[in-house]
């Protein structure tokens, strides 16, 4: 009898469903996966090492580029760690702004996830619907920071500047008539908060639209239900966090367990699943979008009624007001020091984590008292979630591998760092 060997399939890095640069070595018996061996490191940029040779504030920009679909959440974790080491309080308004943008980021991430997950499973239209909504949120990013993706908006001690009073407008051109442009600019007449308010009013309807297409779709259910099941204990053993853990029925959310910023002042629920399969993870994330929308509405209400500073007052560690820099000697010195030497952080070590859309994202900083971190360690949820790939796909078919990769919601900027 001849020897029968398993079929080895190289899946990625150039593969439409590899989500960036994932390289999987699949051992197949027919269509059934015997072993999935993920190879990572193709997007390694050495963020942790780079941070050691840059002053603290310069690394904020690198945080955006880790998980490049949940930019501001990454910044948040990094800023929280430095604030903990510096032992400074963030003004309340800045905390609310951070919560609001964390949730906008969660929407951005979950929309991206839903779109690509849909595309992986073959529901092509989802992708474009989700990107339609992302557009408005990215406009909000742009209005507040000038960049649509890599915002670097959060700073240790607060946020870079207060929310803008006006939104950028579309302009008529050869391709778009004045009437078209007026229609596009209709919800951009007020401040950023008015623009977001308008978005939150519409967003519930959009989520309903997605659910009409997918939630009760028989094919969608056949593809997702009972695929990649994880029990609560297994999920804990695998180190899952975020929606991956909650879909298995563990109501663990850092926003509730260890509230940071203004999360203890806003009202929201944590959705949990029961089976821990791909379908539950889908349902949990869709419900999270609704909850994020709820949080954003509350933040908008608070921010509209409570003006105030958005940066910590001690300009030894935070950037001074630009007017002070022009007119005040001390302000000028602060500005010069801030942008050349930076600020020293007291000796010690700290770990702070946030509930990033994908799970627990934490940074651990060891400081030797200098203006640069001695060591920066990033705890990325995507890396942990992806480690479970073999566990999740074993015994499933090739098409399910794609579903599972989609449900893991991995972004390689974060996995490879």
């Amino acid at each position: 009898m001849s020897e029968i060997q398993n079929y080895i399939l190289n899946f990625g890095p150039q593969h439409p469903a590899a989500h960036g640069v994932l390289r999987l070595i699949l051992e197949l018996d027919g269509e059934v996966v015997q072993r999935a061996d993920p190879h990572i490191g193709l997007l390694h940029r050495g963020t942790e090492k780079l941070a050691e040779s840059r002053i603290y504030n310069q690394t904020v920009g690198y945080m955006d580029r880790l998980d490049y679909v949940s930019m501001m959440c990454n910044e948040h974790a990094y800023c929280l760690t430095i604030e903990k080491l510096l032992d400074i309080e963030v003004p309340e308004r800045a905390q609310y702004i951070r919560v609001m943008f964390d949730e906008i980021t969660r929407l951005l991430n979950h929309l991206m996830w839903l779109g690509t997950h849909g595309l992986d499973v073959g529901a092509m239209t989802m992708f474009l619907y989700c990107f339609r909504e992302r557009e408005d949120l990215l406009d909000a990013y742009e209005a507040v920071s000038g960049a649509r993706m890599h915002a670097s908006y959060y700073r240790p001690g607060g946020v870079y500047r207060d929310l803008p009073d006006s939104m950028p407008q579309y302009e008529a051109s050869q391709w778009h008539s004045q009437a078209e442009v007026d229609e596009q600019n209709k919800n951009r007449q007020g401040s950023l908060l008015d623009f977001l308010k308008d978005f939150t009013d519409r967003f519930e309807g959009y989520v309903d639209e997605y659910e009409t297409l997918l939630t009760d779709n028989r094919i969608w259910k056949q593809r997702l239900v009972d695929i990649g099941c994880v029990t609560a204990d297994e999920a804990k053993d695998l180190g899952f966090t975020g929606p991956m853990l909650r879909a298995s029925g563990v109501p663990w959310d850092i926003r509730k367990m260890e509230p940071y910023a203004a999360y203890d002042k806003v009202d929201f629920d944590i959705p949990v699943g029961t089976n821990g399969d791909c379908y539950d993870r889908y349902v949990v994330r869709v419900e999270e979008m609704r909850q994020s929308n709820r949080i954003i509405i509350q933040c908008i209400d608070w921010l509209q009624n409570n003006p105030g500073p958005v940066m910590h007052e001690d300009h030894k560690v935070t950037m001074p007001d630009r007017m002070d820099m022009k007119q005040d000697m001390e302000g000028l010195i602060h500005h010069f020091k801030h942008f050349t030497e930076g600020y020293g952080v007291p000796e010690g070590e700290a770990y702070c984590s946030v509930e990033q859309p994908k799970g627990e994202f934490g940074t651990y900083i060891v400081s030797d008292g200098a203006n640069k971190p001695y060591r920066l360690k990033i705890r990325a949820s995507g890396f942990v979630n992806m480690s479970a790939l073999n566990f999740l796909t074993e015994g499933h078919m090739l098409a399910d591998v794609v579903t599972v990769i989609g449900t893991l919601d991995i972004v390689f900027g974060e996995v490879d760092r």
Binding site: G122, A123, M124, D400
Partner: protein, 350 residues
């Protein structure tokens, strides 16, 4: 001069060639513009515009695509069997086009008035599978061979469901000739076979979607799983030929659905008393009716693609074997009962 042309036309070979050209040229143009409408329609369904750069409103896009594909280099993968690699697309397109020989476009408009037309079409579409199998096997690519296995299994099993669905039509029409089948549906819109054969009609069309490997049954070329499946290694004109064959088959499935179940060229207003529509020009048989019915099914292909997620390979097989084939067999018995009950207006013995 006119006499000369007419006398040349009388030569059998010339006559047939002219008819073949009269079918193939419009068919290939339809394929080209079907791709354009596919991109446009799915585009509008997905809140985007679709092609609009080449020519006014993008009308020249299919021409530009065809030109591009023709001038691209054909790359033979290392270790590929060049002869089979070239034969595969040829085989696919040959059978896809040959099936059109027996399709009637009107009561008299048919190239080959075959008595076993239905069998001939089934035979042709079955042979087309060999093209796919050869393509996947000769490419020397793991993704392609995997897709080949999927396609072969899928097409063979859906062929059975489709065959059974057609048995129902044959039982109702008592003929394998497509012209006779259409003639058997005349009278009024209620005479169309889609009413007594509704389950078979639905199964026929779904099987057709599956057999042409279109969404949601496109596991053979499921881009998120096995990239492009059996034609992953093909480029240039060889790829274009696969593409052409796939779309020609989609149109074939659509026109067959229109002919066999929806009365072909018969008007839906035939025999309608209301407002005297039944006696107006709208009630006349016309190729326009046939083409518009076909267009409905072609649109459905695109609509499915924009709406549904993709089935998994084993789920498709389950649907085919455990759902469709039993339903069709049961319904064939029901037709038998209707046949003996001489259920009007479909089963009256002439």
């Amino acid at each position: 001069m006119v006499d000369l042309i007419l006398s040349i036309y009388e030569i059998p070979i010339i006559n047939i060639l002219v008819k073949i050209i009269a079918i193939l040229v419009p068919l290939l143009l339809t394929v080209a513009y079907f791709t354009y409408f596919e991109r446009k329609i799915i585009g509008y369904m997905q809140v985007r515009i679709g092609p609009n750069r080449v020519g006014p409103r993008g009308w020249l896009q299919p021409i530009a695509d065809a030109m591009k594909l023709m001038f691209k280099e054909i790359i033979f993968p290392s270790g590929a069997n060049k002869i089979l690699f070239t034969i595969a697309p040829t085989l696919t397109i040959a059978t896809a086009l040959a099936a059109w020989a027996v399709i009637p476009f009107g009561a008299e408009m048919v190239l080959a008035d075959l008595n076993v037309a239905l069998l001939y079409i089934l035979a042709m579409t079955s042979v087309g599978v060999y093209g796919v199998i050869l393509a996947g096997w000769s490419s020397n690519s793991k993704y392609a061979i995997m897709s080949t296995l999927r396609t072969a299994a899928q097409v063979v099993s859906y062929e059975i469901a489709m065959g059974f669905a057609l048995v129902g039509v044959v039982m109702a029409a008592r003929s394998l000739n497509i012209g006779d089948i259409v003639a058997g549906q005349s009278g009024s819109i209620w005479g169309w076979y889609m009413w007594p054969l509704l389950p078979l009609f639905v199964i026929y069309f779904i099987s057709g979607v599956a057999e042409t490997n279109r969404a949601p049954f496109d596991v053979a070329e499921g881009e998120s799983e096995i990239v492009a499946g059996f034609h992953v290694e093909y480029s240039g004109i060889l790829f274009a030929i696969f593409f052409l064959a796939e779309y020609a088959n989609m149109i074939l499935i659509s026109i067959m659905a229109a002919l066999l179940f929806m009365g072909g060229w018969l008007s839906p207003f035939q025999g309608v008393e209301f407002l005297g529509l039944g006696s107006s020009f709208l009630a006349g048989s016309s190729i326009v009716w046939l083409l518009s019915k076909t267009a409905i099914f072609m649109f459905l292909f695109l609509w499915f693609r924009a709406t549904f997620p993709r089935y998994r390979y084993d789920q498709i097989m389950r649907l085919g074997w455990k759902v469709f084939i039993p339903i069709t067999i049961v319904w064939i018995y029901v037709i038998g009962i209707m046949y003996y009950a001489e259920l009007a207006p479909w089963f009256i013995k002439g």
